[in-house]
Symmetry: C2
Subunit: 146 residues, 2 copies
């Protein structure tokens, strides 16, 4: 009975996922450098820009899949650059809302354009229908959790 090699690494979804992710993050970081951002900071800024009144650091951590202690440092940097502000909400004084400044919103849009353009390197050959399926699958993977 022949003993095969088993499924090769090139068919391992975990491997393919992390390799493609590394690729995309790499080109995105290069594009964001012109705006003084990296993907993690950019993601926090993007979330802050999606609401008028701000988003709590805890929510940011949950959406991005980061530890809350990491979010503190990311918000510190964005705040130092004048792209977001920490504000206190009405009811709960434990919470700090991350609110995008006008300048932050401008930077987010400019950065988005450059990031989108850069990512067309790796994603250029993928059609829109396929991208939509990819979004769906990746969202379900995230939702399923660990």
């Amino acid at each position: 009975m022949e003993v095969g090699m088993g499924r090769p690494l090139a068919d391992d979804l975990g491997f393919l996922l992390s390799r493609a992710s590394g690729q995309v993050v790499r080109v995105t970081n290069a594009a964001l450098a012109d705006h003084g951002l990296r993907v993690r900071q950019y993601s926090v800024l993007a979330l802050a820009c999606e609401t008028e009144d701000g988003i709590s650091q805890r929510e940011v951590a949950a959406v991005l899949g980061l530890d809350p202690s990491q979010v503190v440092l990311l918000v510190d940097e964005l705040a130092a650059a004048g792209l977001v502000e920490r504000q206190a909400p009405e009811g709960d004084r434990r919470t700090r809302l991350v609110v995008a400044t006008a300048r932050g919103r401008g930077v987010r849009e400019a950065a988005r354009q450059d990031a989108d353009a850069a990512v067309e390197g790796p994603l250029g050959l993928i059609g829109e229908a396929e991208r939509e399926r990819l979004r769906d699958v990746l969202t379900r993977i995230w939702t399923a959790g660990g």
Copy 2:
């Protein structure tokens, strides 16, 4: 003229890719810890196991998307654990072939089983046909390059 928010971060393929990747890498690392491995070491070992005569460090770097200098350290660790050996090929004395030991091949198979089981947490809801499509898309993203 209404100024919208633009496409939200949750629809950004780069973001979704890195978040799902982080998720899968996290659970895989946890599973590999029982075997004294992490994903990067495991990937190098897996490649070495796919050939009888070994694979050059340069090839490993190219396939995994790592810098050759990182591969040196990964191979150092695997060799110290007795899972691979560096061997000199016939013709070119610059090249070092990474060859899996018998023990390395055993560990690779045991680790594969635990890693595959662990990754069913995030991937459990994805059917086989969809996984195949996902493999195809992720491979094309990699091939397209930066």
